[in-house]
Symmetry: C2
């Protein structure tokens, strides 16, 4: 039974562990066929577009990437000092972050199993831990009396303590005798006593607090045994506080620690891909306007950085643009493609980076990285996962979605900063305001040429999406939205590989 | 109530968070007194000795550190290629680790609250995450059928799932009505459904598996929704597997993630302290043989690196040596000191570093850092927390204590390697053997001049220890063993600060 319960064999293979199989196109594939690699236009220089161009380039395809922004990466966007953004609402910002300080405005974390890490390895992009979970970070719910935050470790100790106590009592009194054998009961209670830090049977398996909650005075030198946090709340108080709702996040397959990030910013990935493709094959500031295919190739019309109308012809095209923007292009890909594209709806999300003149969260709060959760508009507050002990640091002051993000998108950048700082000050105290240097905020639905954080309203496995899942003649589609891991680079990469494989298979046929 | 339950005020101060208060001695302290700083001999260049010398040096004390080994740091010992060790059993090793590869043979992790991090900040020692917990690391118990490992994430999903199901059922059937109000019950069941990924009430709140367990095929491109790990074990099977015994480790105050380590090896701390003290004030290869105090000072006899007898006189001495080795010195500190020293017993622990020619745990197992737990002699197996995606890496093949460590201490280094690799191969498969390049093992009880991993057999708060807690005339004592955090540098540092404060107070009196 255990042999299959998440277990691995004695000689685990990559395939056995879920690694996607992919044979990158190779120039040698053409040798026996007496053919050579053709030309491909890639619409969009985000992760899906770049990976498409990179993998096709390995086989000698002549690729040209058309990217409307002034950089590659798409939503993989690391904001540094000097970066400018004018959003579709007209809000203009120029980041004033100090040298070495940055925010990953889009994707920011990689799970160990994600194929994105394989590209980091292959391209020589060093990685470090992204601090997705931290026992010393806070939980702050408005229902908490006095509006004071708790540390995760305290909330967990209390919740796990009472859950364990209650289950130990129910088990011991026979309430679960239909479900549990005598052996089960003994093993379960032994586990619960350890898991919840409970008293003995003679103490009613009571949870009465634990050093796991934390200390008001840490254990130190002789004479200083430490003072545990006191005033343990009741079970009712713990359940009413709502702290438990945040615990399952860290169990999720895509969020469980350890998580990783590229050293120096997430955009090290698109930068490395762009170098590997060849910067001369990537045309920045080039906005596609039409995609017309015929029996022999694809013609793409676009405007160049000077605003001039241009066109480019190739054997194939891979459309790796946001689907709702692709839908606006003039094309002859057919009504089914248009209908399918219309089903995919962009979603809203926003982040604000707050640069501080000191790392007061490390010195005053003893929080080195991790995420504070709150039920306010801020939703998630991220402590930086780089630059520990440095002079400065960039907090992510909010990371929120949907209607909250839509509300904040209407605010000016200054209003967003003011609001975010006022809410954060409730959690962290005055330095959240007084130590602030500058901020940069992003509302993804309003970023030109991207206009969305991720996607919804459709099922990629459905028949309705089939016109996009399969090649539309000489045009193929790629993007996270065409995967089962929307909003993750992992999904964008695998969708790109699928398009590359389909294109290469056809080219070889 | 929440105001005190691990919560912090709106304007938290360092003191409110348990930070130890310490006023480092300063030259200005002497100005009003018309005195000047005296001389101090520090016996032992481990962390307690170095911090003593460093802090006293800030006030101008003329310090001399006598260290018998060829390096400072004591048990803070980072092993690199070329390092040699002959233990007290006569086992000789020279490490053959490649450039950039190392093992932290002693302390290896720092909690965010530990004062050790303050020294890293003050001394400019950069830190990075130590991967103490990893959802993708393994649990391997000999009771598991087929001897196959499980991932933490799978073990947690199943354990939390069944615990939640059982408690939800007991709650729903009224078995806990004496403990819980109707509101409590509703909130608790809502929590449990999320925490355990349970079905609805109509499904009996059943746990039937979860994507949290992991996948045999990861979610990928369109057409690949992912295949969850199947064959969910029964509750009985989960409780019998014993996996739950490992979960509480990560809740402990001193072990909860996030944890940290110095970049480049733990010995960056003693190296930085030694530089700050002044290397000329640290005499390596100098073994103390007697400590004799009189009304005016302390005379320490020692042998220099050439084996010649030497002596040194100073106003004070701080004895920062292992207590059981200090007990063997000739001294005139009195019978109470001798009795107290005799109470402190050294403990055994061992580690082996295994350098591999590839990072197969990353590529084949998708494990980037973290600790695998096993009930075999290996006890803990550590994946490296540095060098991700590199060509090579050093695993800690075992980290074990007490009688297991004593058994392994009797083996030759080659026998240890052979045994460790055979046990590890059961968890990880053949590459655990075939990719091995070299190893280095340490048995702390047998390391000359240290002869112990940590301490037991006494209570630092007891009256019996008082002769060591307080100055013995002009001789003061320091070490992790004189703190409430034995085996942690945090404890050594705070004990050293206590000795420094006592010495300085007396000097100013």
């Amino acid at each position: 039974m255990f042999a299959t319960m998440g277990a691995l064999g004695l000689a685990p293979t990559a395939a056995a562990q879920g690694t996607p199989q992919f044979d990158a196109p190779s120039a040698s594939d053409f040798h026996l066929k007496g053919r050579s690699a053709g030309s491909v236009i890639v619409l969009g220089g985000g992760i899906a577009g770049l990976v498409s161009a990179y993998e096709l380039g390995k086989a000698g395809y002549r690729v040209t990437v058309l990217e409307p922004r002034d950089r590659t990466g798409g939503r993989n966007f690391t904001v540094r000092g000097g970066d400018e953004l004018t959003d579709t609402y007209g809000h203009h910002q120029q980041a004033r972050f100090s040298a070495g300080q940055y925010m990953n405005a889009g994707p920011a974390r990689l799970a160990q199993w994600m194929v994105t890490l394989d590209y980091c390895r292959e391209l020589g992009v060093p990685v470090e831990v992204f601090t997705n979970t931290n026992a010393d970070a806070y939980i702050h719910n408005s229902s908490m009396p006095d509006g004071r935050p708790m540390r995760y470790r305290t909330a967990k100790a209390d919740t796990y303590g009472y859950v364990s106590e209650l289950l130990a009592k129910a088990t011991d009194t026979g309430a679960l005798d239909r479900q549990l054998t005598a052996d089960d009961k003994e093993l379960l209670i032994e586990f619960l006593r350890d898991f919840g830090d409970l008293g003995a049977k003679t103490d009613g398996y009571a949870y009465t607090g634990s050093s796991r909650r934390g200390y008001t005075t840490w254990p130190g030198e002789s004479g200083v045994p430490g003072v545990e946090l006191g005033d343990v709340p009741t079970a009712s108080e713990v359940f009413a506080s709502g702290v438990g709702r945040y615990f399952s996040f860290e169990f999720e397959f895509d969020q469980a620690m350890l998580m990783f990030q590229p050293v120096g910013g997430m955009d090290q990935i698109p930068k490395a891909l762009t170098r590997a493709i060849g910067a001369d094959k990537v045309r920045l500031g080039c906005q596609a306007t039409s995609v017309l295919q015929d029996d022999h190739g694809v013609t793409v019309a676009y405007t160049d950085p000077g605003g001039r109308a241009r066109s480019l012809r190739a054997d194939y095209a891979i459309a790796a643009m946001p689907p709702h923007l692709l839908a606006k292009l003039h094309h002859n890909l057919g009504g089914d493609v248009a209908t399918a594209l219309a089903a995919v709806k962009p979603a809203s999300a926003g982040k604000i980076g707050l640069e501080y003149r000191s790392r007061w969260w490390e010195t005053d709060h003893r929080i080195y990285g991790g995420i504070t959760e709150t039920d306010s508009d801020l939703t998630h507050v991220w402590h930086p996962s780089y630059g520990y002990h440095g002079d400065r640091g960039v907090m992510i002051g909010y990371y929120h979605y949907a209607t909250v993000a839509d509300r904040y998108s209407l605010m000016t950048p200054l209003e967003r900063q003011t609001t975010a700082v006022a809410l954060g000050e409730r959690i962290y105290g005055p330095k959240y305001r007084t130590e602030l240097d500058s901020s940069f905020s992003i509302a993804w639905r309003q970023v030109p040429h991207l206009e969305g954080a991720w996607h919804g309203g459709y099922d990629v496995q459905s028949a309705a999406l089939k016109p996009l899942v399969e090649p539309a003649g000489r045009v193929l589609f790629a993007g996270d939205w065409l995967s089962n891991m929307d909003a993750w680079q992992h999904g964008a990469i695998l969708a790109a590989r699928k398009a590359v494989t389909a294109l290469h298979t056809r080219a070889l046929a």
